[in-house]
């Protein structure tokens, strides 16, 4: 009974246990609750790291919840897997690692950030429930269980976005997100029902092995792609995202960035591993590419004219998700023909996934820096900010690193993943690369505006009393800065160990199916 076998279940059990124990720990006082929050998110990060290492070492790990032993996917005499199976391949472990890092940084940050507010036992339990829901979405192999974890993370994020319920904007943002997210989840449930009705199987690998494109599968695919793209923030359906990210407490926004990555993972898993080559017509890949292009350009066009700091960064997350959708769409487009796949398809997927990891890191850092500025000065509007660099040097430096990374300035990690996406989308059609480049220029323009107006410029007398933020918040930001700098300085290691195995796992549908169905593919 070595612990490596139970890692997938432990990855979910830990944050869930933390969420259950939060009210009990808050009986023991503020420090015990804070210690529990940080300890649980740190151990979840450790478990995610060991899980990633185990998956890299010996292939796909799957865990049968409630089975005689945790590896028995097909009990004797059964043709299809019946229990809920957590299937962790290189892509799930890669996304779980990046989600766990964002959750740990957010927990560290919200120790001091939330100390002035009441009801923090509810905050800690909702925060860990959101982490458990996000990690569940990333490692589950069962399509109905994926719906349940989407609901767990959505309901936790409704509560957390409206946490400051005396701010009208937060309540409005949470209601709009709740409305569109509930209708989207109902459509995901209809899609799961369609697939179950046709194949009587709920396991993604089992459905993937038996799937032949028909009317029911097309409806299920459209509902899944539509609602998962909505939860990522693709263009026409993105309007809840800047409101939700701007109004939530900053520690929560840092985690919400990773939660939208979990639905991007869900989109990739459904398109590549469940449908794969059976996707038939090139309509869905081109639809994802169009989502990507529209999100990129219109997201950053809206961001340039914003003057509220967190809303501006929220619109940038809409445009950055566009890059990943473009990368995955190009990969899906040429999944069928091996020559184009070898030439640029695989680079596109690696670029898209590496961009997902980079994006979560520097976007979370940007939000934490914006939250630190809000904590220190109490202002969010860029018009009445100025000359904060002298008073808050660490936050200014970290914000500079993060904005250089997001706008893709050469030595930073944002540039590496954008380079992959430029080159591979150029091979499909030059227009795609042109839109990507113009978006990157506009991103740089808007972050020059933010950095100049907020941090540079002459000293303002109204900010005389501003001091640097307390150490726990700096520690939260430092964790993310270290990861961003690590990815910047060692791109070849991180691509070879992080992005490439994930891309290979995503493309290798037969491996994903074979692990569960006993190599019967």
């Amino acid at each position: 009974m070595n612990w490596n076998e139970h890692l997938p279940a432990l990855l979910l059990a830990l944050p869930l246990l933390g969420a259950f124990l939060a009210p009990l720990c808050s009986l023991g006082g503020k420090t015990l609750r804070n210690a529990m929050l940080v300890a649980v998110s740190f151990f979840t990060l450790l478990v995610a790291f060991f899980l990633w290492r185990t998956v890299l070492a010996d292939g796909i790990q799957y865990y049968v919840m409630g089975g005689e032993n945790s590896r028995l996917a097909l009990p004797s005499g059964m043709a299809i897997p019946i229990r809920i199976i957590l299937e962790v391949d290189a892509l799930s472990a890669f996304m779980a690692l990046c989600g766990a890092i964002a959750s740990f940084a957010g927990a560290l940050f919200s120790l001091n950030y939330m100390s002035r507010f009441t009801g923090l036992s509810r905050f800690a339990s909702l925060y860990l429930l959101l982490t458990a829901g996000m990690l569940g979405m990333m490692i589950t192999g069962d399509i109905f269980n994926f719906f349940v974890f989407i609901e767990v993370s959505s309901i936790a994020s409704f509560g957390l976005i409206a946490f400051w319920r005396d701010r009208p904007a937060a309540v409005e943002a949470s209601f709009k997100y709740a409305l569109i997210s509930q209708v989207g989840s109902m459509l995901i449930l209809v899609a799961a029902g369609c697939l179950y009705g046709k194949y009587n199987m709920l396991n993604m690998a089992a459905i993937g092995s038996a799937l032949k494109m028909g009317a029911m599968e097309k409806v299920a695919l459209v509902f899944l792609v539509g609602s998962l793209a909505m939860k990522c923030g693709a263009f026409p359906m993105h309007m809840w995202l800047p409101d939700g990210y701007a109004e939530a407490p900053t520690g929560v926004t840092c985690l919400l960035v990773a939660v939208s990555q979990a639905s991007l993972y869900g989109l990739a898993r459904v398109c590549f591993s469940v449908y794969g080559i059976a996707i038939g017509s090139a309509f869905i890949p081109w639809m994802i590419i169009v989502f990507g292009l529209a999100s990129m350009f219109f997201g950053v066009a809206m961001a340039v004219v914003q003057h509220d700091m967190k809303r501006l960064i929220g619109y940038h997350s809409v445009s950055q998700v566009g890059y990943m959708l473009l990368g995955l769409g190009v990969g899906l487009l040429v999944l069928g023909d091996p020559r184009a796949m070898a030439e640029f398809g695989f680079t596109a997927i690696t670029g898209g996934l590496f961009h997902a990891f980079n994006y979560t890191m520097y976007k979370a850092l940007l939000f934490l820096a914006a939250g630190a500025v809000y904590y220190a000065t109490g202002k969010r509007d860029l018009n009445d900010m100025g000359g904060l660099a002298r008073r808050m040097p660490y936050t200014a430096v970290m914000f500079l690193i993060a904005s250089a990374a997001i706008s893709g300035l050469p030595p930073f990690n944002g540039f590496v993943s954008k380079l992959f996406i430029y080159e591979s989308s150029f091979a499909v059609h030059p227009f795609l690369a042109v839109v990507a480049l113009v978006t990157s220029v506009l991103t740089l323009a808007s972050f020059v505006k933010v950095f100049q107006t907020a941090f540079l410029g002459p000293e303002k007398s109204v900010f005389a009393g501003v001091r640097e933020v307390p150490p726990a918040m700096l520690a939260g930001m430092a964790v993310l800065t270290v990861v961003v700098l690590g990815l910047t300085l060692f791109p070849s290691w991180s691509i070879a160990n992080l992005a490439e195995p994930a891309a290979r796992a995503l493309v290798d549908q037969s491996g994903y199916i074979g692990a569960i169905m006993g190599g019967g593919m």
Partner: protein, 115 residues
Amino acid sequence: MIGNAPFFTVGILFMMGLVGIFMTRNLIKIAIAVSILGSSVNLFLVSLGYREGGSVPIHFLAGDGEIMVLPTPQAMTLTAIVIALAVTALLLSLIMLVWRHYGTIDVDEVRRLRG
């Protein structure tokens, strides 16, 4: 053809819920329309598991009948009902807070966050 009767009801209920959301300006009616949508999806899930002449899928209650109705959709519907309750309770509490802050629950007036 009669076998598909539940699926027609699901279609009609789904359309009613969807159109209901857009037809009204009152937030509480929108929350009601969303729960109609949820119940139509639950009906869809339950009617998936129906088998001709099947009996209760519990072994010693099923008697000697060989065919059993599929139990998985019933478990799925149960979870969907639990989730629909939680979301409806949250939506209604948020509408209460919107009423307290904005003094109106008209969907066209609750729009401070725009642009």
